[in-house]
């Protein structure tokens, strides 16, 4: 990661995400959108997948977007962005593009990325379009009212993985989306959390710069108040605990090298991580967990850190 912003005072001042949108109080994605739009600057085109962000920011005849913005459908934002990027290339070559070095940015949720949009994402990465793809991960289909996605963690309550006597929440583990993206050998991919703003904006900027080489990817952790069932003033706290317990490690994949970023760079040593329970207990979606289930989650988390440790040594 290149460091463009050293302190909070260096952060971009210009607001490019207008107030008056319909996002929930305390929405993690809203925080992400504000920093994404500020950091990418005005000369960018945004392609958005269907989801919470899309429906809450574009109620006709109003819009929260000061960027040129396009939403087409749920599963195709990467394909749409591929077309935008190709169009700019062709028009520039023919002397028909008048806006200079315009960047192309995708914003999509976990449903539109892990599940229904995975094919178009893979196609875009394989073709190496110069597009920054930003996933905001709130770990379920929140737009339709909290249904499980490929990103939902094991044992989590959702409306389609209810906690009953026979089945207790989601049965499967969360899909490793970063692993899938890294397997496409993109120049840059990174994780970020809305609780660690400097880290996040520097990664957005870095990922944007690298689009001159090919596709880049950001996985931004964005807690959801109604979906995760915590009070709306706790969003940043929940996100910070996700990082500090090691649940959501901050790292970047830069040209085939994996590097853990602070504070996650200390977390290979388990004793430096806060207990996972501190993160889980804040959220209603995990309220039903037994000690055995928490132990199983911890075991899986340890295994994940072992895997990350090996990748970091490559």
């Amino acid at each position: 990661m290149k460091v463009y912003y050293k302190t909070l005072k260096d952060l971009p001042r210009e607001e490019l995400f207008a107030p008056g949108h319909r996002m929930c109080a305390g929405c993690g994605a809203a925080i992400a959108m504000r920093w994404i739009t500020k950091t990418i600057g005005p000369n960018a085109i945004i392609a958005n997948a269907t989801g919470c962000v899309e429906v809450t920011t574009t109620p006709y005849p109003e819009t929260a977007w000061m960027h040129p913005y396009i939403h087409v459908a749920f599963e195709n934002s990467a394909a749409v962005a591929s077309g935008v990027e190709a169009a700019i290339k062709a028009l520039r070559r023919k002397g028909l593009w008048d806006a200079g070095d315009t960047k192309v940015v995708v914003i999509a949720g976990d449903g539109g990325t892990y599940d229904i949009g995975l094919q178009s994402l893979s196609g875009m990465l394989e073709r190496r379009h110069g597009v920054l793809y930003i996933l905001y991960d709130n770990e379920a289909y929140m737009n339709t009212g909290i249904q499980r996605s490929g990103s939902t963690p094991k044992f989590s309550w959702t409306t389609t993985t209810p906690v009953g006597t026979a089945v207790r929440g989601k049965i499967q583990w969360k899909k490793d989306i970063m692993g899938i993206v890294m397997a496409h050998r993109v120049p840059y991919a990174a994780t970020a959390s809305i609780s660690h703003i400097l880290d996040m904006v520097n990664k957005i900027k870095t990922a944007l710069e690298y689009t001159s080489e090919g596709p880049t990817f950001l996985h931004i952790f964005a807690p959801c108040v109604p979906g995760w069932r915590y009070p709306e003033n706790k969003t940043v706290e929940v996100a910070r605990l996700a990082v500090e317990t090691g649940y959501f490690p901050l790292y970047e994949w830069d040209h085939g090298k994996l590097k853990l970023n602070p504070p996650s760079n200390a977390h290979l040593d388990k004793s430096k991580r806060r207990p996972l329970k501190e993160y889980l207990k804040l959220q209603g979606r995990f309220a039903h967990l037994t000690d055995e289930e928490i132990a199983e989650l911890e075991k899986e988390l340890d295994a994940y850190w072992e895997y990350l440790g090996k990748l970091a040594q490559l």
Binding site: P59, E75, A87, A90, L91
Partner: protein, 392 residues
């Protein structure tokens, strides 16, 4: 306007003719995905790009859904775009067909038509196209390689004039893979016919707009009504574009084409190459045998050219509509038949009209079969749907 003097004629399949039209139109972005019988279009275009004859970006998408999505993105950015598909590919695009029309994007797509699974068949009929007919696209059905070439060029002009996507369809295999002589226009002249207009609403950071927003019940209906109006406008503009094309390049077709209809008592209404060609041969045969037969071909299928079709059928005693697609469970299984029946009912016209389904899955349709339709019309004029050429 001066008609082009020097003639440049090539032996081309309809698919190749379409590729030549795309080259002449100086298209910027083309989404490439293979499906039979479409594939040779994008192969030929890829050759043009590889040889530097066409300055375009090819996007080698991973599905037809992404093919249309990518050209939606490119068209929204202000590029001139093209893609092509058939059959299951058109079905996979279906969701995005509605979106492309709803977003009023001037996309041109070629559809050599092919039947649908199951069972799988790669052969031609119009089942795919007819499933796409109510998506808000302008739809042409061409009847020769020459016409497909001319129609693709007209389609760009129409699409960019009325802000609607346009499909140019024709018979899978019977046309897509059949070689015919095609007169090619001078490319400079085509580019004069298709001037680059700066569209007011595109994705450009200098003039930011939000495209594809959410519309509440307060607004959604108005968007859809505007599409209705745009298609009505397209009916008028399609005729103007065809006339101007005729003045510049010496070939025009109208939105409805007629053959020996001046004094016809009995008519076959058809679309596409094989049906129209066979129907004309059958009309000649019928005329020799003393039946005043004629043929009406619907070239512009959406918006439906109601006035022109009714006018063409004005003097006949009875007619048959030949469909190469089945609308399962419909009161009449032929889609064009149902369109014409509706048009007649709405205009208070009551006439014997036979619905004929034929050529499904490219079942061979003989001129004799078409001739038989004329005898059926003369001997027993009635309203009924018959399935020709099927083993029952």
């Amino acid at each position: 306007m001066q008609v082009q003097k020097t003639k440049h004629i090539e032996a081309l399949t309809t698919n190749y003719a379409v590729a030549y039209a795309v080259k002449a139109a100086d298209v910027d972005v083309i989404a490439v995905y293979p499906i039979t019988p479409q594939t040779t279009i994008v192969e030929k275009i890829s050759e043009f790009v590889a040889n530097g004859e066409l300055n375009a970006e090819l996007i080698h998408v991973e599905s037809e859904h992404s093919a249309l999505s990518a050209v939606v993105g490119a068209a929204a950015t202000g590029a001139r775009v093209f893609t092509a598909t058939s059959s299951q590919g058109l079905e996979l695009m279906h969701e995005v067909l509605h979106i492309a029309a709803g977003m009023r994007l001037p996309i041109v797509m070629a559809v050599p038509s092919r039947t649908l699974s199951a069972p799988i068949s790669i052969h031609g009929d119009y089942s795919d196209l007819m499933n796409a007919r109510d998506t808000g696209w302008v739809i042409y059905i061409a009847a020769s390689a020459q016409e497909a070439y001319d129609t693709v060029i007209q389609a760009f002009r129409l699409a960019e004039s009325v802000s609607l996507p346009v499909m140019v369809s024709y018979d899978g295999f019977l046309m897509s893979h059949t070689v015919e002589p095609v007169e090619l226009n001078d490319e400079e002249e085509v580019r004069k016919f298709l001037p680059r207009a700066v569209r007011p609403y595109t994705l450009n950071p200098k003039r930011p707009v939000t495209m594809g927003p959410l519309a509440s019940p307060d607004w959604y209906y108005e968007f859809k009504y505007q599409q209705v109006l745009a298609l009505k406008e397209a009916y008028k503009v399609a005729k103007e574009v065809d006339s101007e094309y005729g003045r510049r390049f010496g070939r025009s077709y109208g939105v409805v084409e007629t053959y020996r209809m001046e004094d016809a008592d009995y008519a076959i209404v058809a679309y596409g190459g094989a049906s129209y060609g066979n129907a004309r041969a059958a009309a000649d045969l019928a005329r020799k045998r003393g039946i005043a037969a004629g043929v009406v071909r619907v070239r512009l299928y959406r918006p439906f050219p109601t006035a022109d079709v009714l006018k063409a059928l004005d003097g006949v005693k009875a007619f048959a509509v030949v469909d190469r697609a089945i609308m399962f469970g419909s009161p009449a299984e032929g889609p064009l038949y149902k369109d014409i029946a509706t048009a007649m009912y709405m205009h208070g016209i009551d006439k014997p009209a036979l619905g004929v389904i034929h050529g499904i899955g490219q079942r061979t349709m003989y001129v004799e079969d078409m001739y038989k339709i004329y005898t059926m019309l003369r001997e027993n004029p009635r309203k009924e749907v018959v399935f020709l050429g099927v083993r029952v």
